[in-house]
Symmetry: C4
Amino acid sequence: MLEKLKQEVYEANMQLPQLGLVTFTWGNVSGIDRQQGLYVIKPSGVSYEELTPADLVVVNLKGEVVEGQLNPSSDTPTHTYLYNHFPKIGGIVHTHSPWAVAFAAAKMDIPALNTTHADTFYTDIPAAAALTEAEITADYEGNTGKTIVQTFAKRHLDYEATPGSLVSQHGPFCWGETAAQAVYNAKVLEVAAEEDYHTLMLTRADSHVPQYLLDKHYYRKHGQGAYYGQNNAQSQTHAKRK
Amino acid sequence: MLEKLKQEVYEANMQLPQLGLVTFTWGNVSGIDRQQGLYVIKPSGVSYEELTPADLVVVNLKGEVVEGQLNPSSDTPTHTYLYNHFPKIGGIVHTHSPWAVAFAAAKMDIPALNTTHADTFYTDIPAAAALTEAEITADYEGNTGKTIVQTFAKRHLDYEATPGSLVSQHGPFCWGETAAQAVYNAKVLEVAAEEDYHTLMLTRADSHVPQYLLDKHYYRKHGQGAYYGQNNAQSQTHAKRK
Amino acid sequence: MLEKLKQEVYEANMQLPQLGLVTFTWGNVSGIDRQQGLYVIKPSGVSYEELTPADLVVVNLKGEVVEGQLNPSSDTPTHTYLYNHFPKIGGIVHTHSPWAVAFAAAKMDIPALNTTHADTFYTDIPAAAALTEAEITADYEGNTGKTIVQTFAKRHLDYEATPGSLVSQHGPFCWGETAAQAVYNAKVLEVAAEEDYHTLMLTRADSHVPQYLLDKHYYRKHGQGAYYGQNNAQSQTHAKRK
Amino acid sequence: MLEKLKQEVYEANMQLPQLGLVTFTWGNVSGIDRQQGLYVIKPSGVSYEELTPADLVVVNLKGEVVEGQLNPSSDTPTHTYLYNHFPKIGGIVHTHSPWAVAFAAAKMDIPALNTTHADTFYTDIPAAAALTEAEITADYEGNTGKTIVQTFAKRHLDYEATPGSLVSQHGPFCWGETAAQAVYNAKVLEVAAEEDYHTLMLTRADSHVPQYLLDKHYYRKHGQGAYYGQNNAQSQTHAKRK
């Protein structure tokens, strides 16, 4: 069942230790088949050294296990919530990467201070509100997804242009068109947090990049006018040929 | 004598350089056989490149060497003291991991500021009082264990729920049900110190997580209601199956 | 075409991940054949794992692609501008190395605070002015080169003695006699930024090195009187022989 | 000539990249044969990948090259000065390790704030005075040694108990009974600088360890009463045997 997707999600999970984004088993990646309404996710607490594609668990959009011997990630209800409310995403990743956690613990957004950030995230990366005691008691992992979705609604953020969020006191969640893209975004978020931390120590001036620089860098890589890389229609135009 | 335990303690010692927790020989792990009242510990000053399971030294709960050609870790009296006063622990580790040492030198607790911390440590990780001159002169290593035990008593801390401590001006000691679990806890302590350092620089607000979030994360992984991973009774329930 | 130069530029590009200067594809190196007026540059968005010398693109000093199936780096107009205005340089590198980006985002120069810096950069490394909206709209990548050249002119800096610059809000560009030398300079810039950051946190005193120490260290390695290494005329004199 | 010493000094040099103490060629180690009054040192500007024992240069205590095809380290006069004024040392190392350089640039001592430091350095590690213009012009490298020796004299420091120094605006020099011991001390200095930096950010309180803790840790490893490791007379006594 979903063998190709399992392979993709397996490879995306294995990127986490290679990119320095996880300690022990503190991370999980999922990827969805939108047509079947099923997603594939890492099992809970299995080490990356031992993980195989066959260990992955298949879950439906009610959060029920459809296939798999192992228990899915304990964060599965968060993934379910996000897949249901962000209908265009194809993959989700959660880590406890340390720079991101430092901002999440301080309940601070990761501000858009440079073009590294702007290439991937079109706005500040929000720190979604910490869960209340009632939310934690009722459905901790589901409400972890809910606080992200509510924060995006309240701030009028586009989840496609801002493909990730912190959850205050906890850590980062990212997403993307595929599981691999979600992991890429999680690495960008971690690097942006590291760079921002040092910038915020160097100066008390507001160092936000202006909107026109955000526009330039973000749209250099995304949308109809993108010309970064090899696969955009515009990149042929940008590369003037003699 | 205690061949299986020696192998376990050897492997736990070898985890220290792999997890980036030691420079040179600045760390040691022990593990105990409670039935025999004997524990196995790294020899003093032997490099991790050269260490073999046969080099480990067997010590009784009076702190006497029972087997082994090499001298045990110079911190052996600390291990003896902790095994005698924390009767449910099965392994102990001491390192000079740098983020933990930074907090120990500042005589500061590692505060519980995020869920990474809460997953493993149910409270702030205390900085036990620095030893007095009299304590150092009388029995330095033994009194290093004593200041930890006294700090836990004074603060009404449960050593099973807070499986580690700093010693002010010195560094971290951790413990657990096994030697491997103690090393796992030592890595969590180091990561928590790193994350907390950056959070404390980012904000002067009190960022302690509330008790209900500590409860949620700690008990998601520990005790009767735990549902993280594959081996808890509750994890089957948590993973709803269709 | 330009096979030897392609090999050199390929190797210089591959140094970027080895020196810890790039994440993903966020960097590019070029090298020029001044006699032919042609330069060789990394293709846009190709990963370092997949890059081969044959993938490199040949560009002329009007910025036109002369040879190559792939699109050149999206930063190609910056390279063209710099080659045209800094006539003695043989190689250029752009990265998003994190310490340099932290300073660029803060719009701060990397000050000359120690001899590590002085060995390679004879002055503070300037943070060139951020681009205006008009400059971004008109020709973003070309004007990125222009702000560097203008900053050097305004501050009366010698681009041979200060072989690199930050661009505010963005990141570092470095150059040198060859592509390999440019990459060397990019690593020095990153290390200097890391060291300066910590020095600036340790003290509020002005820690600039005096001009005579800059002179000593810079000219120990550069120019007629250089005596560092094996290839300088003066090094034989410096090494007194019995 | 001095083949055994060359091998030792070669291996000590190769420890520098393995311990993360050098970038490019920014470091050099020497070791001396006191009976012959000759020392062996790394050649100038040779990369660690290419270095062989046969490349090492033999120098006498007047600083003259006695054997070797290559030019010795440009810092050779510093080594000569230190060997002449610190008669009991057997090896010297100079690096530009980044935490040490951050303190040197700030002209700050590395204070004794924890036992990691006290195990190897019995006092604060001094930042020797920056060289004056006259000193730089007259004999830069020789006077680099002189400022260290003068600083030790002025502060009544014992170079055997404090086996290293910063030179303000420049970086660290360490020494020891052998070249290998000097490199060990250079790593301790770098780790102490890293830990101290973070402690100094965490608290404004004076965190110096008291003299009695310095005594305990330093003499646990050094002198007649040492009991750390396997080779001290006292370690047999410390390890009580049943």
